[in-house]
């Protein structure tokens, strides 16, 4: 990316960051929702683990770290503004971008970065408060290799989800009803379960995990946290990271192809 181009998208991210502070009440209430969801699932797992120091091959510290960790990784991976792309496709507002010297994907990715930073900042604060309040047993990873793998996996998951979510948004070209919300809702529900948001996926029966563990959704939350908890060997970690890179390539090519195909049938409804 050239310097001038970088500046352009940096400005988009900066504007988006400022926008986050304009609708402060909205943002705070959004974060309150996240905390409520986290507390609900945390206490459920706390109750499950309270009578067993080890269950599902997890210690209490590992399980609670996994659940609290999902909040942080959620902010990085699932925090996004680009979900609005489906509204723009459905309402015809996409026109505004087609006549501007701006890449649609890069535009939304820049806005997503700003949104993720804002969400991560709040998420760190929320987790700190919860740690002080609940004083849970926490698993601290000290192996530098695993920590580096965790960071890299988290960043790769973020990019993977961006393309995945964009693909969902682009279904609005073909199914524009309610600006693509019905299909997005179904995907949300499935993702919540298959990404490991409620529990680590490897507690599922082995036959089920063998299938679900291979889906792209398993890399969004489950894989980074499994690496953090040291449940992957170095070889498994390397193959997981490699798979994530392959998935990014596949999703990116598919998203670009779908966008081009979608533009051909785009009717700018509502304009």
């Amino acid at each position: 990316m050239r310097m001038s181009s970088f500046k352009k998208y940096f400005q988009v991210a900066k504007t988006s960051w400022s926008g986050g502070f304009v609708y402060r009440l909205n943002f705070v209430m959004w974060r309150v929702r996240n905390v409520v969801q986290l507390i609900a699932i945390y206490f459920l797992w706390f109750a499950v683990m309270s009578r067993n120091s080890t269950a599902f091959n997890y210690t209490t510290a590992q399980m609670l770290t996994y659940i609290l960790g999902t909040s942080l990784i959620r902010a990085l991976v699932f925090g996004q503004r680009s979900i609005d792309a489906q509204n723009e496709i459905g309402s015809g507002d996409l026109n505004n971008y087609l006549v501007k010297p701006i890449g649609y994907f890069k535009y939304w990715f820049s806005r997503d970065i700003a949104d993720k930073l804002l969400n991560i900042l709040f998420s760190i604060g929320e987790i700190a408060i919860l740690l002080i309040w609940l004083r849970p047993e926490i698993y601290l990873q000290t192996n530098p290799l695993m920590l580096a793998g965790f960071l890299l996996a988290s960043l790769l998951a973020m990019v993977m989800y961006f393309y995945f979510s964009f693909l969902v948004s682009m279904t609005t070209f073909w199914i524009p009803e309610e600006n693509g919300w019905p299909q997005r809702f179904l995907i949300f529900v499935v993702l919540e379960f298959f990404s490991g948001g409620l529990f680590p996926l490897d507690i599922l029966p082995p036959a089920v995990y063998a299938v679900i563990g291979k889906l792209p959704s398993a890399y969004f939350l489950n894989a980074p946290l499994q690496i953090y908890l040291g449940r992957f060997s170095a070889t498994e970690m390397a193959s997981t990271l490699l798979m994530m890179v392959i998935w990014i390539a596949v999703l990116r090519i598919t998203a670009n192809w779908t966008f081009r195909k979608g533009l051909k049938i785009y009717g700018a409804y509502g304009r």
Partner: protein
């Protein structure tokens, strides 16, 4: 009395007509219906599967067996779907306040609160509601007459609280023009009752019982179905639901005095 019956018939007719229109409008987008309905069913099935997975290694959660946990989840669904099915109109209420469309509701000879809450009946929640009732019957729970009465009272008090919360959200909507996040925070809080509130700490439980009485609305009917509720608790539930309804109605009437009709 005759006047009241006549008023009731008018309200029934309005609700019935708007429900038929809602159904027709929902069914216009058939593919959307399939996606939304699938999402609701998948979410329901996944959570039960999740409880079953936990039960493979942990026999009891907070002292409850798998079957009891499923009963709590089914009762949560029953009351949640009651709110979703009948009071879906709240999700469109913000637009009415912001655009000033609410002015027209105020001029009609029908309660504006009734119009705000029941504007849309979500037919898509009906199949899951029926399924939930069937599953509850299949739980094979037997109750004595006294226990059945207690269950009915706690169920009605739960429905009253759910209604009261929707009224309070509508009132806050008039005062602050903020509805979407408020109702979603309520939905998230109510999700905490997918499992018995006994899993939470005392402070969280107190919050869910006395501040936003989710526990009274969702957990108590389930406990009464399991025969775990005593008479004093039923009286407390009745008092809390009556108080919640009274306060929410007062808040609504106060909110109407604050309505600025800004955009009209």
């Amino acid at each position: 009395m005759a006047d009241k019956l006549k008023r009731l018939r008018i309200y029934w007719k309005i609700w019935w007509t708007s429900s038929i229109l809602s159904v027709e409008s929902s069914l216009e987008n058939r593919l959307g219906v399939i996606f939304l309905l699938s999402g609701k069913i998948v979410r329901f099935v996944f959570f039960i599967f999740f409880l079953v997975v936990i039960n493979r290694q942990v026999q009891q959660i907070a002292g409850y067996s798998l079957n009891q946990m499923i009963t709590f989840f089914l009762m949560f669904n029953l009351l949640d779907l009651f709110g979703q099915l009948f009071f879906r109109g709240i999700y469109w209420f913000r637009d009415q306040v912001v655009t000033g469309e609410f002015d027209f509701k105020l001029t009609k000879p029908v309660s504006p609160l009734f119009q705000a809450l029941t504007r849309h009946t979500d037919i898509l929640d009906l199949p899951l509601l029926v399924a939930t009732v069937i599953f509850l019957f299949r739980q094979g729970i037997t109750l004595t007459t006294a226990q059945s009465m207690i269950f009915l009272i706690t169920l009605i008090s739960g429905m009253v609280i759910v209604t009261a919360i929707h009224i309070a959200v509508a009132a806050l909507g008039v005062m602050t023009t903020e509805v979407d996040h408020t109702i979603m925070i309520y939905r998230d809080l109510s999700m905490m009752a997918r499992v018995p509130v006994d899993v939470y700490t005392d402070s969280v439980r107190a919050l869910l019982t006395f501040v936003i009485p989710i526990a009274v609305a969702y957990t108590l009917p389930a406990k009464s179905l399991l025969g775990l509720v005593t008479l004093p608790t039923v009286i407390l539930a009745l008092a809390i639901s009556a108080l919640a309804l009274t306060l929410s109605l007062r808040l609504w009437h106060y909110a109407l005095t604050q309505y600025s009709s800004a955009s009209s």
